[in-house]
């Protein structure tokens, strides 16, 4: 079963140099998980051991391994396929939050989310420019207690679009990212088909995302559509804007999806600069930025917490506010900050830009 996966992900080219494992944030604190070992074990054909292993659920999909791999092994692709194989054998990993985030997408399949959620913004449901707001309404309810404000992210995004003359139509819903990364290809396909159908009905010409995961999934995992896809930072990149005095020191946490997966590093920094924020870089930034510690609501445990703490300390060394464009990064960091004080705030990219812009 793994043979096809090995072929497709170029795992055959692994030279066992173990560079991936020595940069993997999980391996560094938990040596039993090692990308190199997983690939090696698959290559020598210990198939059952790999598929039954709980280790395969520890991967963050952060892509640091791919960034440094000299052989071009697509480990993330490999991992997704392995998880799909494992799931078929009944190895489903340990989802966080009692699996509620596996159930929500399933519910979304049943019913469209049609709601008038945002205040003081202009939208036009007939517009062929779509703002795909993703799961923000659910996250907003789930994580209010740790200070996550999903509504603010959606409102800020639309406010910024309005400022430059765009009245978007809004879609709330699951892009299928988590299902895909957890090997649930069947659920992913259903969500994808539903989304594609909806976009067709709305005659979408352009889709704007504030969530890097949705953007990555549409751009890299959906079949190509005749629709322009862009992140809000790309939309804002060429706009004239004015800001004010920052007053605080800010740093930017590159989320794995927007950074390494999509290669967008400069746009958010340039936009922040235009509104008056000169980003102070952390020790690990851009291509080498470290993950927030959890992905796709899977296997969040002490290791995730450890990675987050390190990241927050790194941020505190250079700034008072950590900006990220990914709502999940923000949730994960705020979770840690809810019980430990690092003297640093975490804010979303659009939230900061909307506050600063004049």
């Amino acid at each position: 079963m793994l043979e096809g996966i090995i072929e497709k992900s170029k795992a055959y080219y692994c030279v066992e140099c173990r560079k991936c494992s020595s940069i993997c944030p999980i391996t560094r604190i938990y040596g039993k998980f090692s990308p190199a070992s997983i690939v090696e074990r698959s290559l020598i054909g210990i198939e059952e051991e790999v598929l039954n292993s709980m280790d395969i659920w520890k991967c963050l999909g952060c892509g640091l391994c791919e960034e440094v791999c000299p052989s071009g092994v697509e480990f993330l692709h490999f991992m997704r396929e392995v998880r799909n194989g494992a799931r078929k054998q009944g190895n489903e990993g340990i989802p966080t939050h009692e699996g509620v985030f596996e159930s929500i997408p399933k519910l979304m399949l049943e019913k469209n989310i049609d709601m008038d959620w945002l205040d003081n913004v202009e939208t036009d449901e007939k517009s062929d420019i779509i703002y795909f707001a993703g799961c923000l309404p659910f996250f907003d309810i789930m994580f209010k207690e740790i200070g996550f404000d999903g509504k603010c992210i959606a409102e800020s995004t639309v406010k910024l679009l309005n400022k430059y003359g765009v009245k978007p139509s809004i879609i709330y819903g699951c892009c299928g990212h988590d299902a895909l990364w957890n090997g649930n290809v069947e659920l992913f396909n259903e969500l994808m088909n539903k989304n594609m159908q909806m976009l067709k009905e709305r005659k979408a010409k352009k889709i704007i995302f504030s969530c890097p995961e949705c953007y990555r999934t549409f751009k890299m995992d959906y079949p190509s559509m005749d629709v322009e896809l862009m992140h809000i930072s790309e939309f804002l990149a060429d706009k004239d804007m004015k800001g004010g005095e920052a007053g605080k020191e800010y740093t930017f946490h590159d989320s794995c999806r927007l950074g390494r997966h999509l290669g967008i590093y400069e746009e958010p920094r340039n936009v922040l600069k235009k509104v008056g924020i000169k980003v102070k870089e952390m020790e690990h930034n851009k291509e080498l930025a470290v993950c927030c510690g959890t992905s796709a609501w899977m296997s969040c445990d002490w290791k995730s917490e450890e990675i987050r703490k390190e990241r927050l300390k790194e941020a505190k060394k250079v700034a008072d506010v950590m900006i990220t464009s990914c709502p999940k990064c923000q949730i994960h960091f705020k979770c840690t900050l809810s019980h430990e004080n690092y003297g640093i705030e975490v804010k979303d990219f659009v939230e900061v830009v909307a506050e600063m812009i004049k």
Binding site: S21, S22, I23, T27, K32, P70, L288
Partner: protein
């Protein structure tokens, strides 16, 4: 007897020139730099024998330059080619040196007085040289050259100090580039190599961390004629290192960069580690390798000798990341120990990156001028790797040295002699 043209005055070009000249064939040796010698002239020691590189090469450089059958055309470039094997017409541009070579004695007074300091490419940009310069102390010919990109007189019509100071009256600011035409029966291309700049391997911090160097920089650092006169020094306080790490395959055997094996780096790093230990006998070295490729005669024994006598430890791993201690500027290397199955840290004072041999910068340009093909990586292509290893895709044009593929000095010299023998058939 007809003439032969050799393009490139490194060890391969020099060897081919001497072979041909000794059998009575007249050779033009075109070199783009102001001195012949090429890469080998900049190396400290040769690997597997640990001989002084320039001590081996300098006599050959001088023999070549003073040989009655060799015309060295230094500071020159081939810019045009017509004709065919047995009867090539070649256009060569002789760049203006602004110094009359018949008068210059190479005394160095001008270089002392010249006020313009410029990045020194011959020391891997680790220090500065003057705008009027000799590339290195053993330069052949030992004649000064004015770099017209920087000289104040030539760029802004100011200064003129060198003209005032030169007792021989050799300075001539009005010199112009000259185009000359040569008629040759055969051509040997030996234009050499460039080295990968590992700036895009962010995980190793080259260009960001003071104590991370490439192997070529290290050759200059440990060389008595280099910027530190052969003393290894670490930032920030100039202390000498007690632990050095060498990382192999930095940019090579890498599908995103140079997919080929550079073939010499494993031996070069072992040699470098030995030299460091010879300088300071308590110094320890760590060589991080993917596969230790020590394949030629006595190479394996050499690697074992390194382990036994020179405090070298070989570690099978490509490190994933290097971090810098902000205070001491020491470097912490992260690598996975495959036996223990966990990520370990190693703190060292200096890291040397084994960056691969690539085609020289203008290889494509010269190939276009000559009408010969390059391979998928930009090296000069041979007709058949096994049967015709020195024949390029155009009859009458032969190839030698690293411009064909990465190789060591011995192999370059072998190929150069082979190319010379082939060229002699056409000249003779």
């Amino acid at each position: 007897m007809k003439d032969v043209l050799i393009i490139g005055g490194g060890v391969a070009g020099i060897q081919a020139a001497l072979d041909l000249a000794d059998r009575g064939i007249h050779v033009y040796l075109v070199e783009k730099e102001p001195s012949i010698g090429g890469r080998m002239a900049l190396l400290d020691k040769t690997m597997s024998t640990n001989d002084c590189s320039i001590c081996i090469l300098a006599p050959k450089m001088n023999e070549c330059f003073s040989h009655p059958n060799v015309d060295v055309l230094e500071y020159s470039e081939v810019i045009g080619l017509e004709g065919r094997a047995g009867d090539f017409k070649v256009k060569v541009k002789r760049k203006a040196k602004y110094v009359d070579a018949t008068k210059c004695t190479g005394c160095g007074d001008c270089m002392e007085k010249c006020p313009t300091e410029v990045p020194n490419e011959y020391n891997s940009y680790l220090d500065k040289r003057k705008a009027i310069f000799l590339p290195f102390p053993q330069a052949v010919p030992r004649k000064a050259t004015i770099d017209d990109r920087y000289c104040l007189k030539l760029t802004k019509n100011r200064c003129g100090l060198c003209e005032k100071i030169c007792k021989a009256g050799a300075i001539d600011y009005n010199q112009k580039d000259q185009i000359i035409e040569l008629n040759v029966a055969a051509i040997i291309v030996a234009v050499g190599l460039s080295l990968y700049e590992p700036r895009d391997l962010y995980e190793y911090g080259y260009g960001k961390y003071d104590n991370v160097h490439t192997w070529m920089e290290y050759e200059r650092l440990i060389n008595a004629a280099g910027p530190t006169h052969g003393h290894l020094k670490c930032s920030p306080d100039g202390r000498r290192p007690k632990k050095i790490a060498f990382i192999q395959c930095v940019g090579s055997r890498d599908v995103k960069r140079c997919p080929w094996c550079s073939s010499v780096c494993c031996m070069v790093s072992i040699k470098s580690a030995m030299l460091a230990n010879e300088h300071y006998n308590d110094l320890e070295s760590y060589i991080f390798y993917s596969d230790l490729r020590v394949f030629s005669k006595r190479f394996y024994e050499y690697s074992k000798r390194g382990e036994r006598d020179y405090k070298i430890t070989y570690i099978h791993a490509r490190p994933g990341e290097i971090k810098e201690d902000k205070r001491t500027k020491n470097l912490i290397i992260y690598y996975e120990d495959e036996k223990e199955g966990k990520v370990k840290e190693l703190e060292v004072e200096m890291v040397i990156l084994a960056t691969p041999i690539m085609p020289a910068k203008d290889t494509k340009k010269i190939a276009n001028v000559l009408g010969i093909e390059t391979d998928e990586h930009g090296f000069i292509k041979t007709v058949d790797f096994l049967k015709y290893p020195v024949e390029t895709t155009k009859p009458g044009i032969f190839v030698a040295g690293c411009c064909e593929r990465p190789k060591d000095i011995t192999e370059s010299v072998i190929q150069a002699s082979a190319a010379a023998a082939k060229a002699a058939e056409l000249a003779g």
